[in-house]
Amino acid sequence: MPASGSKQGVRPDYLNLLLSQFPGAVWSTDTDLRLTFTYGSVIAENLGIGRLTGSSVYDFVGTRDPREPANAHHLAALTGRRETFRYAYGEKWYQVTVEPLRDTEGKIIGTIGAGVDFTQAFENEQRLRDSEARLREAQEVAHIGSFEWDAHANRLVWSRELCRIYGLGESGTPPSSLEVFLGYIFPADREHVQSVLLSAYHRGGYFSYEHRILRPDGAIRTLHTRGAALRNKEGTLLRMTGTCWDVTEQKATLDKLASNVSLLTATLDATADGLLVVDRSGRIETYNQRFRSLWGIPQSLADQGDDRALLDFVLDQLENPQQFLTGVQNLYAHAEQESFDTLQFKDGRVYERYSIPQRSDNKIIGRVWSFRDVTERARSLRHTEFLSDATRLLASLNAEQALESVARLAVPLLGDGCAVDLLRDAGPSRLVAVVRNPRERIATDVRRALAQTHATHYRRDGRAYLSVPLLAGGQIAGALTLMAAAGRGYGEREVEVIEELGRRASLALENARLYEQAHEALRARDEFLAIAAHEIRGPISSLHLAVQTLRSGKLSPEGQATALEVIEREDRRLGRFVRELLDLGRIRGGRLQLSLEPVDLAEVVRETVSAQKGDIDASGSSITVTAPGSATGEWDRMRVEQIVANLLSNAVKFGGGKPIEIRVRDEGENVTLEVGDHGIGIPPEIQERIFNPFERGVSLRNYGGLGLGLYIVRSLTEAFGGSIAVESSPGDTRFTVTLPRRGTDAV
């Protein structure tokens, strides 16, 4: 500056220039505050030089009131004080300083003042103050507190609101150290807060954390803090500043919301139904895990969020993909529509599908699909229906035909194949085999199936088989075998159903067997009655003709004798028929009476042979009796005679005129009677039936008689506690009766 140097060097015109352009005003007064000197651009521009000369400060401010600020500050300066103040004049603000003006002895002779235009700065300051006030106000209204920590000065400033939030009151002071601050924090959250702050301290940048505080009044609040650690270019931390607000209520609401969402998610995932929500554009909104597992959808595919891709993926699984697809498209085309359907899968699964529009504020925003696996229920229903149908079929008296129908009914519900084998006299015989695929065959292990009285599992040719026995009369009568579908086996439920089927089929076989027996018994009885009628008609015809011929008086004496012989013979024949019929009635009715006494079987044999001599001679057979002197036991004489007579007359009748042997043997406890002949013999297949009533070893009407003889012999023998056996081949037949010596006392 050219004027610098020494005071003495400033020229008066230069000084005048300086003062006239001084950016403000300078003035001096005397002790009466009369202006003695004024200078400066402000005064020049606003007041005009010279106008104030000779006037006083009082004139300038327009009042003599000593309380007026300019007056008061000037008066104070007269008392020796240095006054600095702001003063508005015109439209401007001035920063003014007034000091005492002293002479060389230091005596106050007036005042000296200087003022600069402060308007701009003052307005800025004012605006800043306003803005700070508004910020504070806004923070207080929003309950947002703020803080600033000056790293260099280690000075922490908290806003009033922050103090209030921490429960310190509006006039509270911020914590004096980190330790004090941490003391305010809920113990469990301290470590977290400290680590966030230290991390920000060391690394800078933005940070935020949530923590709880323990207020002096005991309340626990949750606060959210966001802040920034600011550093200079060199990386030195300058300050950390930020805001903090109370989120206790929001936190509670959010927690509640989160809890609701998690409850909803958990419910979705826990439900047995698969759920899928698709928006109206075909995007997947949500689904649960059950939905994925029901359809076997990979996570990655589900995450793509495209319903169309899901459809493509699942179509192959369905029995009728086209129908399914059409149904789905139809529902997407008609957003309002609800639907309930049953989906059949190729592998036998059955799902129920329920679909409803998803609404929000009464507006359809998507569609909810719900899927439920009802395979077991459907299967169980089908099994019940199957058993019911099978039972209806089996309620037939033609069990074999019914079993064939049942086998057809069982495929494919219970497997790919079903076979029924029946155990017949000649061995196992296949009744029916049904296969789903005509090119397959069912490779039943018949021997194994027929050897078990319970369900049997086995594998053949890679297939699972299950056989259940068919029982009739407590005996294995056959087996029902099912072949599982490829790659499948039989589960507990299916085994139960098949076992039940086996039981019902057994019952049908049993019923058919009983029916057959009853039918056979009826047929045998009818046949017996027909034979009896025929047999009785014979003697009656003879008697009828004999009597009428005798009456005609045309018979020669020899003819008369012959007719009388016929009458006697027919009388005996009818008498025998009547006895046999009475015995049959007694035996069948359990009314056989025995009167036991010592009886010599050898003697009875000799007497019987003698009594039948006529018939024996007529037949042309010879007879040999081999017997000890006596063979005595406790028997009923008449009944023993009946046994011997029946066996003998049979031998005569069927002996074909060949020799007959009778042998009586004493065997200690027992006595045996053996009657043998050399006639036509009894075929093996009917040997066991000849002791039944109404049966005869030869075809109808071959030899007269009611066919009751052997039945009566066996019944009498058993009544004595004995037994009868037959051995026969063509040309050699032998009946052996074994009688215990001491007859039973039983009836």
């Binding site: 009628a533 025929h534 008609r537 014979g538 003697p539 009656i540 015809s541 003879s542 008697l543 009828h544 003709l545 004999a546 009428q548 011929t549 005609s552 045309k554 018979l555 020669s556 003819g559 012959t562 007719a563 016929v566 013979r569 027919e570 024949r573 030869v698 075809s699 109808l700 009407r701 071959n702 030899y703 007269g704």
Partner: protein, 136 residues
């Protein structure tokens, strides 16, 4: 049983019935031969002059009356032999019709009816009035 009247063949397995039929017919002027079954009857017919009439029981062992009738009807030499079925069978009238036989007699039979039937088909009155064939 000496007689020179028409011969009647009796085919009946029941010995007493056969005996009594023979006795009844011979005592009324017929000749009567008896056999026990169809085979014996065919053997008889093959070795004897054709009888005037055959009385045939339906139910017999070896060869039934029905079989015998069919054999006779298909044998040119025997086709003209009149046959009367003799049985207690309930279907007798129907069988007689089916087999186209001369007549039938139900067991037990009255002597009069027997003689009438035989007289009608054997072509000789046994002293009894001839009766028209009437089913029972």
């Amino acid at each position: 049983m000496r007689s020179d009247g028409p011969q009647v063949l009796i085919v009946e397995d029941d010995e007493d019935v056969r005996t009594m039929l023979q006795l009844a017919l011979t005592s009324h002027g017929y000749r009567a031969a008896g056999v026990r079954n169809g085979n014996e009857a065919l053997a008889f017919l093959a070795t004897h002059l054709r009888p005037a009439l055959a009385i045939v029981d339906l139910m017999m062992p070896d060869m039934s009356g029905e079989d015998l009738v069919r054999r006779v009807k298909t044998d040119d030499a025997l086709a003209e032999l009149p046959i009367v079925l003799f049985s207690g069978h309930s279907m007798l009238p129907r069988m007689a019709e089916t087999l186209h036989v001369a007549g039938y007699l139900s067991k037990p039979v009255d002597l009069d009816r027997l003689l009438g039937m035989v007289a009608r088909h054997a072509g000789r009155s046994g002293g009894e009035p001839e009766r028209p064939f009437t089913p029972e």
